[in-house]
């Protein structure tokens, strides 16, 4: 039985913002123009001081909360966090979700038509970084007349994007809420991303990224990439308790078909994802993760990198998250402390690994609610 979510923002719709000023990217490439698809919830106040930007993670998008009129089952990915009366209360805040540049849900990206060739960009779409996104967020804010975000918030890659904005445009961010993120990926984390990329790049249907004109799709590669990713987003314990060694048909079959429930689950997740997501965007997003490192221009000194930040920070991690472990969040906290910036940090007990940041959890949500309540607008 479906229960009605009384706190949901309800029916929402996506809109599109067009930008004609050329955007110089970190890679050296320039985009002449681009579009960003976005959603907003709540009302921008007269002082324009209550805007909260939500940055999405690897596979996320602008549909953060609410549902679509024509697809009531498509609930926003952070609907449990954002809405009227929710931790990020849309009665107080004007909440913005943007699909990042390079995404595959409506913003300009590899699937978009390249004006110069009349074909889809594919691999010709430049690699974009969190710094490039930060620039697009600022231009977006300019269009709305928002001088300063009350807060910028995100989990995982979204948390990194939030940090990047707080570093690149310190005067435009009052609060940064960084959840299940890292100041930079570890070698192990990059390694996982590389295996995911190799799965896609070596798929015979990939065709150097131009699968669009070949009428193919690197489905196997993307499916494998997602399966691998999914394993790293869960914890050993949560997998054990959810699936254990349970067999689908109760007995060993002595063949290579799906036997264990965990296999069935992973295949399902892989299939579902491969049907909905663009492989080139997946590649690009994993690179944005790998490249994120604010300390790069500071001889690896993270504290020096954070010297320019001005925002107050809330940093949250989850005990069972081994892909973005609490230790990595502590790196961020240390850099903030070294600069005497306002920061609070909590490690939330959770069994669900990296995915915890998307889950409903009372303590987690109470912390965010308490923090957001204290933001003056």
């Amino acid at each position: 039985m479906a229960t009605q979510d009384f706190d949901s923002i309800g029916i929402v719709s996506a809109r599109r913002a067009h930008f004609d000023t050329p955007l110089s990217l970190r890679s050296g490439a320039v985009l002449d123009n681009y579009e960003l698809v976005y959603e907003t919830y709540g009302e921008l106040n007269a002082e324009r001081s209550n805007a909260v930007l939500i940055c999405h993670a690897l596979s996320g998008n602008h549909h953060v909360a609410g549902v679509y009129a024509d697809n009531p089952k498509n609930t926003g990915w952070w609907n449990n966090m954002i809405g009227p009366g929710k931790p990020v209360d849309t009665r107080k805040f004007f909440v913005i979700g943007i699909n990042n540049l390079g995404g595959c849900h409506g913003s300009t990206g590899p699937v978009s038509i390249n004006d110069r060739t009349g074909k889809r960009y594919g691999q010709d779409f430049p690699l974009v970084t969190t710094s490039d996104w930060a620039k697009t967020y600022i231009r977006f804010a300019d269009q709305f007349g928002i001088d300063r975000f009350a807060a910028v918030m995100g989990g995982s890659l979204g948390g990194m994007s939030a940090m990047q904005l707080a570093l690149d445009a310190p005067e435009r961010v009052r609060h940064a809420i960084v959840v299940a993120a890292a100041a930079r990926l570890t070698a192990q984390n990059i390694a996982f991303n590389d295996v995911a990329r190799q799965a896609i790049l070596t798929d015979p249907d990939f065709h150097g990224g131009d699968y669009y004109s070949h009428g193919t799709y690197p489905r196997r590669g993307l499916r494998l990439a997602r399966m691998l990713g999914h394993i790293t987003y869960l914890s050993d314990d949560s997998m054990a308790s959810k699936f254990g060694r349970e067999l689908r048909n109760g007995a060993l079959a002595f063949n290579y078909d799906v036997e264990f429930q965990i296999e069935s689950y992973l295949h399902h997740q892989g299939d579902k994802f491969a049907d909905l997501f663009d492989a080139n965007t997946y590649l690009l997003m994993t690179k944005a993760l790998d490249y994120f490192d604010p300390s790069l221009d500071y001889d690896g000194n993270l504290s020096a990198a954070f010297a320019r930040a001005q925002a107050d920070f809330l940093v949250l991690s989850f005990t069972s998250d081994w892909r973005f472990s609490p230790e990595r969040s502590r790196d961020i906290v240390k850099a903030l402390l070294d600069n005497k910036l306002n920061v609070s940090y909590a490690e939330i007990p959770s069994a669900y690994g990296h995915d915890s940041f998307l889950m409903q959890d009372d303590y987690y949500h109470q912390l965010v609610r308490a923090y957001m309540n204290n933001i003056a607008i």
Binding site: K340, Y363, N373
Partner: protein, 206 residues
């Protein structure tokens, strides 16, 4: 005047806060170890415009700090203050937490590593009423030591003399001492008549 959520003045509820406020320079940086609900930091921020951070391990306290609008860092004090640089704070406070620490010597060293000064307060086990209870054959239970022997978090209770001996052994310089009972300052025989002890300490350079 700062009041609590229930509307009571903070100083009525926590008279010990006045000692901290008297010792801390306005505008300084303060790290409060085992900061509880953060109300001391809130008080010091409002009264003295300090830059404050609390350290806590208890989830309910962390949430309470967040509600009170003070910075709080989740950290296990028993593991030290590894995320904090040397002399990065003007003051490091350990308010009525010393007696509940297992690694007593280690946390004192850490306080004086991270803080230019430390401020430590603890219940004086040498208080005469405690002594009488022990003399009568029972572990002391009072408003300042409200626990039974079997459920107390206090594993390292001490007297003023004990603490001062520890300071001597560990090159800890006692800059100032204040001992109080329910009526205020105690000057006469503080190890016998004092309920709460406050010490402002610093590290004696090698």
């Amino acid at each position: 005047m700062m009041t609590t959520e229930a509307g009571r003045p903070v100083l009525t509820l926590r008279p010990d806060f006045a000692t901290f406020a008297a010792w801390i320079r306005p505008g300084s940086s303060v790290l409060d170890l085992g900061c509880g609900d953060g109300i001391l930091l809130r008080y010091l921020e409002d009264k003295l415009d300090i830059r404050g951070y609390g350290v806590e391990i208890d989830a309910d306290n962390i949430l309470a700090c967040m509600k009170n609008g003070v910075n709080v860092i989740q950290n296990d004090l028993e593991a030290g203050l590894s995320g904090f640089e040397d002399e990065s704070f003007d003051y490091v406070i350990l308010s009525q937490t010393l007696q509940a620490m297992r690694n007593t010597e280690y946390i004192i060293r850490e306080i004086l590593r991270v803080g230019k000064e430390g401020i430590v307060s603890f219940p004086n086990f040498g208080y005469w009423k405690n002594r009488i209870q022990v003399a009568c054959g029972n572990m002391p239970v009072s408003s300042n030591l409200p626990y039974q022997w079997y459920d107390t978090p206090n594993v390292h209770l001490c007297t003023l003399h004990d603490f001062e001996q520890l300071c001597q052994q560990h090159r800890v310089n006692i800059l100032e001492r204040r001992v109080t009972n329910n009526d205020g300052k105690v000057s006469f025989s503080p190890n016998l008549f004092g309920i709460l002890a406050f010490y402002r300490i610093s590290h004696i350079p090698d």
